[in-house]
């Protein structure tokens, strides 16, 4: 029983990890906190829905188009609302992304209404038995997909020219600019990648929770995961997200079942009070 719950916790956690990863990517490069990360997943999932349901494309093509559309939207969003405030205090940018999140949610409500829609998964809806535990293929696929994406991102950041440039920008924007790196381009690429990660999260999440405009609330879980793992740390985001998924699923076993609604908030609160830097985080020193 416990083993099975832990497995479904990891399946949920892989989605949280992706949201946390998107948050960490943007934070590392731009030092901005993106409150709209969850709504980005939501809107991307709706893009996919439009491609296969209204236009009638096959699933793989629809999802590839979704990734492309999301990356383009990421570049547009960065150019329109983030870059004009590039030099503004982070406080202002946080409020801007807060505004962005409610703009995305209400526009999605206008276009697709606030109903729930069933959403197909790219993985077969079957279960396999391993020992006493039954494991569903969708959950397994989600975990696998998350790992694959992590490896792709790792290779991109480690070995490509653009990835290295983004890492340089996250070390120091000024120094990177002096080395001839186009900082603005790195910013917009970061947003594109983060939107891409959000799109994958959205496509994986929608079959599990139904597609609806309320899906964006997953950003809270993403924050909780990222904070638990250590804010600003990419491995931390992944570990924290996974761990949060497990806590999310195990807690109702031992505590009253209503606890599920408050798990992410309780985690945020306790981590911030007891150990604000999380599991993998490093203490930041402030320079004046």
């Amino acid at each position: 029983m416990l083993l099975q719950v832990i497995f479904s916790g990891l399946a949920t956690g892989s989605i949280y990890a992706l949201v946390a990863l998107g948050l960490a990517l943007i934070y590392n490069t731009t030092e901005h906190v993106n409150f709209a990360q969850g709504e980005m997943s939501m809107i991307s999932a709706f893009f996919g829905f439009t491609f296969f349901n209204f236009i009638g494309l096959s699933l793989p093509i629809a999802f590839l188009l979704t990734l492309l559309a999301s990356a383009i939207l990421g570049i547009i969003v960065e150019r329109l609302v983030i870059r004009p405030a590039m030099k503004a205090p982070h406080f202002n940018v946080f409020i801007i992304t807060l505004g962005l999140s409610i703009v995305l949610k209400s526009s999605a409500g206008f276009i697709w209404s606030h109903n729930d829609y069933p959403y197909p998964s790219i993985f077969p809806d079957e279960t396999i038995a391993i020992g006493s535990a039954t494991i569903d293929m969708i959950g397994l696929g989600n975990i696998g997909m998350t790992i694959v994406l992590m490896i792709i991102l790792y290779v991109f950041f480690k070995y490509t020219k653009y990835g290295t440039a983004i890492r340089a920008v996250s070390e120091s924007q000024n120094a990177a600019a002096l080395m001839g790196i186009n900082v603005k381009q790195s910013f917009s690429m970061t947003w594109a990648i983060s939107f891409l990660v959000a799109a994958v999260a959205g496509i994986l999440m929608a079959p599990v929770v139904f597609l609806s405009t309320h899906m964006g609330l997953v950003v809270i879980n993403g924050f909780a995961g990222a904070i638990l793992g250590g804010w600003g740390s990419i491995p931390g985001a992944i570990i924290g997200g996974m761990l949060l998924g497990v806590i999310d699923n195990v807690a109702p076993l031992y505590l009253p079942s209503q606890i599920k609604n408050v798990v992410p908030f309780a985690v945020i609160f306790f981590v911030l009070v007891i150990r604000p830097k999380g599991i993998m985080g490093v203490e930041k020193f402030i320079k004046v």
Binding site: G99, V262, P276
Partner: protein, 319 residues
Amino acid sequence: MPDLVERIITKENTIWFIAVILLLILPLFLGKYTVFLLSLLAVYALVSLGLNLLMGYTGQIAAGHAGFLAIGAYFTALISANVEWLPCLVTLFLAGIFSGAIGFLLGIPILRLKGFYIAMATLAFGVVVSEVILQWSSVTGGDDGFSVPTARIAGFAFDSDFKLFYLIFSVTIVLTILAKNLTKGYIGRAFIALRESEVAAQTIGIDLAKYKTIAFAISAFYTGVAGGLFAYLITFLSPDAFTIELSIDFIAMIVIGGMGSILGSIIGAVILTGMQQVLAGLLDLQILIFGISLIVFMIFMPKGISGMIYDLRDRYSRR
């Protein structure tokens, strides 16, 4: 004595006096619903003031003020229902103190946090409050909601929207004047110094821990009193009225009105109430407009409408 009169009736204050007198006469010519809306506006203005003291003046993003509003509202409702002889002004004051104490306690762990972490912690706080209200149904009525008794002072009952209007407005005006004095005084200047730079403020001897927790306590006090008035006004409380969305509406209210400004708080409340009425059936459009305004104001006019007004006035008076 003439000195004092001169000090009170300055050019700047006359506008405020006229506005207050007009507001006090106005209800006599208006319908029941408009008076209700004006009262709601006054309640929002109080929340806006409280939030602005914390966010606009002290620079701490607080994304859970619906929680303090709920605490004030439920506290007032419960006290009014159980201790009937207590005058409503005392109840409101106690609601403010209770909410302020919780704000103070919340402020202590938050001292360790910076920037957006504070936003996350307060957001979490707001959600936990509404969840507690929902689950603690033996006291709060849970999902079924809670009927608020009529506000009373001794024998007098504020049993109509007109009577409530005067109660709500007098409380709001007194607290607005207090807030104005507070921001002009030592505490207010300490808040502003903390907002501009925590490190610099500490080097000139401002006790960071003390003033941040004070900011949380005062902000929660204002919002708690507002919650009490809100309870009397809408007469029926249910936990799903105090959502994350409401907290975000409050943030939008002060961003659009103007952060770090008393006038801005009031303008923000006017805009929130106005939008809720004009676009009552069109929730999505209302949220969309709020979202776009949040973005546009933060990019082009971070000081909000009141900042714009003050800039225009400065330019005009310099010529």
